[in-house]
């Protein structure tokens, strides 16, 4: 880097030179705009976060039926707002490591059955009380109770007893689980005073922002919590605001018009147009989310593995990735795990092969058309994807009949009920979580009806295994099994595509969820 550029970029960071002037001078020095821009952001980061101002996000995924009770969080807005006011026991860092929050230390017995959480000293709730081991234990208890209707109930059922003593919380599990700390990073498990048993939707925890406004489906706002325990890392803006903008065009317009500083879910088809808007930066990064077509392994004609294999071979993944996601994603390989997960191993990529598909289709002995249900809500572009699938399958001599279902009611009437339909998964933080949620025989959400006792055993064995190398090998075998014998057709993994407006700095891609795993408003800042 030339000295002059470095000097200039520091002047911008210090607010003595405008961004536009900098880019002009950089161009005069023969530097391309993208490189100059990257110089600028690294200089700004080196200069450190700027405190103050108001950061606003315009997000899809909020309804007037939302509640502040973390147990009931389901969509993006409560999730992102929860990360603002809530504090977690433990969180995943952008690098995929565990980051201790309210738990200062997490240790386990050798068999991964008894876990001890040491509670951090001096963390304060918004109501002025200190976070105690009892509060953490009560939080976990509430989410383990059927009555709370918690989204985390599925994992919490695996905990047999929860005990608080002094500064520690001791969890005894029904079955050994090496991944417990990852499960505790579930976004529903926000620590509340007395676990939220008194008033679940009070909106009080120990996060970087205090709730000031809560109008479900309209807007949510917070002001910086002065006694936040790690105020140097998060909570740079004085105030944050989330405005619910469910309409994609309105969201983009709000970003362009400067009414919000960041938005989520930019549609792949308009990314290239938005990129050209001055001041707007597209933040796209890989995640564990995937778009799928799911077949029930126990329902005819999908109970025949040759037919399933024929359909898996009859889908043109590359075409779908390019046309539906415009390249903002990666190829799927018919098992739900990708590089976003720890302990991932590459398996040979399955390709579009009409001849082989024809062979398996003949062998299955099936005749006649196959009904594929799809809907706009299954995933963005699901109707187009189903039609592409129809065309590529036709070349292999397989007739797919595409039926478009109404979006309203799709998740209650079609998904997990009909034998062959389009769907999506947001992914989980560990392989065990993903497989336990949707591939165990007993799982409620086993949407491919993949019921294999041998597979269940492998899941339980891998869960209890503390040796990483062995565990990795086990996950490899499980992946091969799902890929070759399961009911999942996984053409592509999607990317999170967010966008930020002018002057937003401090962005770090996080593979776990959109908007830096929900922390964008707390971790970003506005350049002076």
């Amino acid at each position: 880097m030339s000295n002059e550029l470095e000097f200039l970029s520091r002047r911008v960071a210090a607010g003595k030179l405008s961004r536009r002037d900098f880019l002009g001078r950089a161009a005069a020095l023969g530097v391309t705009a993208p490189f100059a821009n990257s110089l600028l952001s690294s200089a700004a980061r080196a200069a450190g976060p700027v405190k103050g101002g108001t950061l606003k996000a315009g997000l899809v995924g909020g309804e007037s039926t939302n509640s502040l009770d973390p147990a009931l969080f389901m969509t993006q807005v409560p999730f992102a707002f929860g990360k603002m006011w809530g504090e977690m026991i433990v969180e995943l860092s952008p690098e995929g490591k565990l980051e201790n929050r309210i738990a200062e230390e997490i240790g386990s017995s050798d068999d991964a059955k008894v876990w001890t959480l040491k509670i951090r000293d001096g963390v304060e709730f918004h109501n002025g009380k200190t976070v105690t081991a009892e509060d953490v234990a009560a939080t976990l208890e509430r989410h383990s109770d059927e009555k709370s209707k918690s989204g985390a109930l599925g994992y919490m059922k695996g905990i047999a007893t929860i005990k608080a003593s002094g500064k520690e919380v001791v969890l005894t599990l029904k079955e050994p689980n090496a991944d417990l700390p990852y499960l505790l990073s579930d976004y529903h498990l926000i620590v509340q005073p007395n676990g939220g048993k008194d008033k679940a939707d009070a909106g009080i925890s120990a996060g970087p922002y205090k709730v000031t406004t809560n109008e479900p489906g309209v807007r949510h706002g917070g002001e910086r919590f002065a006694n936040y325990w790690q105020g140097d890392k998060m909570g740079h803006a004085d105030r944050i605001e989330i405005i619910v903008i469910n309409d994609a065009t309105a969201r983009t317009a709000a970003l362009q018009g400067g009414q919000v500083n960041m938005i989520n879910r930019v549609e792949p088809k308009i990314v290239d147009l938005i990129k050209r808007v001055p001041g707007v930066t597209i933040r796209n990064h890989a995640g564990p989310g995937h778009y799928v077509f799911i077949m029930h392994c126990n329902t005819a004609p999908f109970d025949n593995n040759d037919l399933r294999m024929a359909l898996k071979l009859a889908i043109d993944r590359e075409e779908m990735l390019n046309k539906v996601l415009r390249g903002y994603g990666s190829l799927g390989n018919d098992f739900p795990i990708n590089a976003a997960y720890p302990l991932f191993t590459e398996i040979e990529q399955r390709k579009y092969d009409p001849d082989k598909a024809k062979f398996h289709y003949k062998k299955s002995g099936h005749d006649g058309s196959i009904l594929l249900r799809t809907s706009d809500v299954a995933f963005p572009g699901a109707v187009d994807a189903a039609q592409l699938f129809q065309q590529s399958a036709a070349k292999a001599g397989i007739t797919l009949e595409v039926k478009r279902e109404p979006g309203d009611g799709y998740w209650s009437e079609v998904w997990n009920k009909q034998p062959f339909c389009a769907s999506y998964w947001g992914g989980r933080s560990t392989q065990d979580q993903m497989y336990s949620t949707a591939y165990l025989s007993t799982a409620d959400w086993n949407d491919t009806r993949f019921k294999r006792p041998d597979f269940d055993k492998m899941v339980l064995a891998a869960r209890a295994e503390l040796d990483e190398a062995k565990r990795k090998a086990m996950y490899h075998d499980m992946a091969v099994m799902v890929r070759d014998e399961g009911g999942l057709i996984l053409p592509m993994f999607n990317q999170f595509i967010d966008a930020t407006g002018a002057k937003v700095d401090g962005w770090v891609d996080d593979p776990h969820q959109e908007l830096m795993n929900g922390y964008a408003l707390a971790k970003c800042w506005l350049q002076a």
Binding site: E63, K149, A254, Q259
Partner: protein, 319 residues
């Protein structure tokens, strides 16, 4: 004059209440036909058969439909709209703010649209078949023919993105200063005005033109009144009934038909609130909102009827 009119008003109101009852039955039946129920919507993907059964029991969904309907009706008659099943909030309180927002937007759109439409209609009649008439009619028809989301997006593109005069999202909240609130609703109010303008304008024009054919207008012209005075004094008062009718229809539209505009401009009104709760199968809320919408519609129609009668001496003094 008062007694026949009073009788008429009473009749209309009684009829209106009957209609409201019928509407509430229809809405209730409609929500029953939709697939899924509120218990499924609340539990979402995590629904298991036991938790569904528990929640249905808790929400009283196991009772037969007519029992639930009459239980709800009993509440409404005593002024209790109940609580939302999905979020447990009191419906009356949540609706109050939303209804106020919707009325606020409708009020300002009407304040601009109604006089503008009538004046434009009068001007069009005055210069009928000339280029002014054609220009006004053409523009108004064009603005109505475009779907409202298109008009909305065009307004956002120019006024919010390109020139940045008005905000593209109209989130309003309690305690917002009046000036800011007006600025926030500028674009949605404009979009609504453009949508309803042509209907009222064309109706004004047609109604007055109709009257203009009459003998007494010719007389007025012959006695030397200026064209505008003919319209103002003789044609307009006689054409007012159909104009009031169409104005009321459009006012009703401004309140009950603005879902699309609310979504585009992210305006926290009744429409968005209704849509959210339909998706959640939250019957009490859908019922309450539907009832309010129906009441507004029926109420405005009653007003239109009565106004038309009052404006017409023949109906005012029946033989």
């Amino acid at each position: 004059m008062s007694s026949p009119i009073l009788k008429l008003v009473a009749q209309r109101i009684a009829l209106g209440i009957l209609l409201l009852l019928a509407v509430s039955v229809l809405i209730f039946a409609g929500t029953q036909i939709l697939p899924g129920d509120v218990a499924q919507a609340i539990l979402g993907q995590s629904a298991t058969p036991e938790s569904l059964a528990n929640l249905r029991e808790q929400l009283g969904l196991n009772d037969p439909a007519y029992v639930r309907y009459f239980r709800w009706l009993g509440g409404v008659v005593t002024g209790d709209l109940g609580t939302a099943m999905s979020s447990g909030q009191d419906i009356a309180t949540s609706i109050k703010g939303r209804l106020w927002n919707t009325l606020f937007l409708a009020f300002w759109a009407a304040i601009v649209a109604v006089p503008l439409a009538i004046i434009l209609g009068l001007i069009a009649v005055r210069y009928r078949n000339g280029w002014v008439d054609k220009l006004i009619s053409g523009l108004a028809l064009a603005s109505t023919s475009f779907p409202e989301f298109f008009i909305g997006y065009v307004l956002v593109y120019f006024f919010a993105v390109k020139w940045q005069i008005f905000p593209g999202i109209s989130t309003v909240y309690d305690g917002m200063p009046f000036g800011e609130r007006m600025q926030a609703i500028a674009l949605p109010a404009t979009a609504l005005t453009l949508v309803v303008l042509a209907h009222m304008m064309r109706m004004t024009r047609a109604a007055i033109l109709n009257v203009m054919q009459s003998a007494y207008v010719e007389t007025a012209e012959l006695k030397g009144l200026s064209a505008f005075n003919v319209i103002r004094k003789h044609a307009f008062p006689n054409a007012i009934a159909p104009i009031i009718n169409v104005v009321m229809l459009n006012l009703a539209y401004l309140i009950v038909g603005v879902v699309v505009v609310e979504v585009i401009f992210v305006y926290p009104g009744m429409g968005q609130y209704l849509v959210d709760h339909v998706t959640k199968r939250d019957v009490p809320v859908v019922q309450a909102v539907g009832l309010i919408f129906a009441a507004v519609y029926i109420g405005l129609n009653i007003i239109a009827d009565i106004a038309a009668i009052v404006a017409n001496p023949r109906l005012r003094h029946p033989k």
